[in-house]
């Protein structure tokens, strides 16, 4: 991996503060904001919430909602121009598959830095991405990681 600006940077976000803050890091590393592909993976619906039962909440409505949430965030933080992609499935798998498909040269992934019990329970998307990625992966550790 060279230190030249990257042509295609893939960055997954889960809308946590940590992951949103990492978008600016990705923008710094890319040649232009348009080279940053922000990927949000929606996991399949699980609970039978009233919205699901009445058919008001479905993949279409969820994609619309996350796009709106992301547009609000970029407008507030001067990040216009970055690409936003919504995928459905297992986050670890979908992120690396997307990166391979578009021929990304870097995946930037924020890590919550959980340790001990929480790591066991919550798992780590970062771990799975590192294991399966075909390109360079930059893991951003939180300064207060356990």
């Amino acid at each position: 991996m060279s230190w030249l600006p990257k042509q295609k940077v893939v960055i997954p976000v889960d809308f946590s503060d940590t992951s949103l803050a990492a978008i600016s890091t990705a923008v710094e590393m890319a040649a232009s904001p348009a080279d940053v592909h922000v990927v949000h993976v929606l996991v399949p619906l699980e609970g039978l919430s009233p919205g699901v039962v009445w058919g008001e909440v479905n993949d279409e409505s969820r994609e619309k909602a996350v796009r709106k949430s992301f547009a609000e965030y970029t407008a507030e933080n001067n990040l216009e121009g970055v690409q936003f992609i919504v995928q459905f499935g297992d986050p670890g798998f979908m992120i690396t598959e997307y990166a391979t498909d578009v021929g990304a040269d870097l995946i930037v992934i924020p890590s919550h830095g959980y340790g001990g019990f929480k790591r066991l329970v919550l798992g780590s998307v970062a771990e799975r991405v590192i294991r399966h990625a075909d390109c360079a992966v930059l893991v951003l550790r939180r300064s207060d990681a356990e």
């Binding site: 809308f15 949000h40 929606l42 996991v43 399949p44 619906l45 699980e46 609970g47 039978l48 919430s49 009233p50 919205g51 699901v52 039962v53 009445w54 058919g55 008001e56 909440v57 409505s61 969820r62 994609e63 619309k64 909602a65 996350v66 949430s69 992301f70 019990f117 929480k118 329970v121 919550l122 798992g123």
Partner: protein, 559 residues
Amino acid sequence: MRKSCYGVVVALAAVSFFVISSPLAAQEAAVPSAADSEAAESPAAESPAWIQAVDAFFAKYLVKPVAAVAFYPIPYYDFSAGAWRPSVDPATADLPENQQKLIGTQLPVVVVWLVAGATFFTFRMGFINIRGFWHAIRVVKGDYDDPEDEGEVSHFQALASALSATVGLGNIGGVAIAVGTGGPGALFWMLIAGVLGMSSKFVECTLAQSYRHVDPDGQVSGGPMRYLADGLREMGLGVLGTFLAVLFSVFCVMASFGGGCAFQVDQSLGAIKTQLTWLDDGHEYVYGLVMAAAVGVVIIGGIRRIAATAEKIVPLMCGLYILIALYILFANYDRIPWAFEEIIRTAFNADAAKGGVLGVLVIGFKRAAFSNEAGSGSAAIAHAAAKAEEPIREGAAAPLGPVIDTVIVCMMTGLVIVITQVYDPAKYPDLQEYVIGDKGAALTSKALELQVSWFPYLLSVAVVLFAYSTMISWSYYGERCATTLFGRRASLPYKMLFLVFVFLGSIVSAKNVLDFSDLMILTMAFPNVLGVALLSGKVRRDLDDYWRRYKAGEFKVHK
């Protein structure tokens, strides 16, 4: 704060491991001793040894410890005798438990808790249950619906979802049990409990809306586990809030296995067995398997269309059930005045054998709380999902739940039972086995059969659908609480365990499993009512502000 929350969860996980593992070990230890009998060799579903083992497990490790706290009998002042009445005869108080003599009526602490809570909320909110009634109807009608509001579903859909969880076998079986054990007077107290419960619903559902969390993908999560933790933290009671939220979630998961699941299967089986007698001779497990499969394809298989259909049929079934009841009342219109007289008379002047007035009151309140779940906080999880401009508006719609559930559906069942007199040992001595065995739905079925021979078939269909939709809705409540406690990964194991309880409900009809169902739904009220009472000041301020603007006509009507 997050840390302390996780701390509590970890501690609780450790405790539950400890608690669960020891009974399991005990059960395993019990199996070799039973291995002498052939039944243990092949663990057939109808094996009595196996059922007894499960029943004993429930009694020893779940029912007894919880009952000891929740149903702790409070001494009360007996006005007619002019003395304080402890429930245990003081002369025998020092003896071991099985030799103590019981006198008077047991006044379970959880029932007192629920009634005190509902009465407090009624006064605290200035009789919102009565003054807000017309507004509630307008909200549910959709007069104020704005599709742009944040949330998942309309007010009407949220109410229908909440009702699908509460309108269940409690309304058909539970009421019959109440009349059978407490006499017709229990209905009067159920009605009072339903009206007071409207206020509890108002406050808890308003709070569920205030403290709900909307995910970036538009999914809403809310309910007591959220408002107890976040609301009390705002008041500087973070530790208490976290503790109550965890306690609530644990009780809710257990209640979903009991009242939301095993009770529904057991009672609906009781009702259809009166028609499909083939199920009676050791074939109960077939019904359990069918139900488990039908629930499984929806909650694990993800075939949501079935759940959607079932949930939409519930209002229709409700209507059909009310029509059946109305037909019977109409056909016996000459007995209606007598029935009302009997209900009022026995409400205040009850048979001492049924525990006197207090005993009837306790039965009425307990069955009402079990049926409409006001104060236990479960419906708040469904109401949190509604699209609402302000929390008070959804809160205002929620009291219609107890109205439909208790004031209408329960009273219909109750009147049919009273008018047909199936509860009366003098008139139908052969039906007493249903009363004694807590087979309420079967008793209701008999009552209908006495009027029109084919009504029980309609009832069977209604009962199975009520049971089914209640289980689907409760599986969602339980799943929300399980994932709050243990994270998203708990979802699948929770659902599998839920299916196990669906199956267990069909074969273990023993009393302990039913007691367990009762207990868990009622005990959810301990953390919930306490937290809601602490947060009620904020709700009252919001309500006053909202009501002023409502009276001033400041709300935009969209329809």
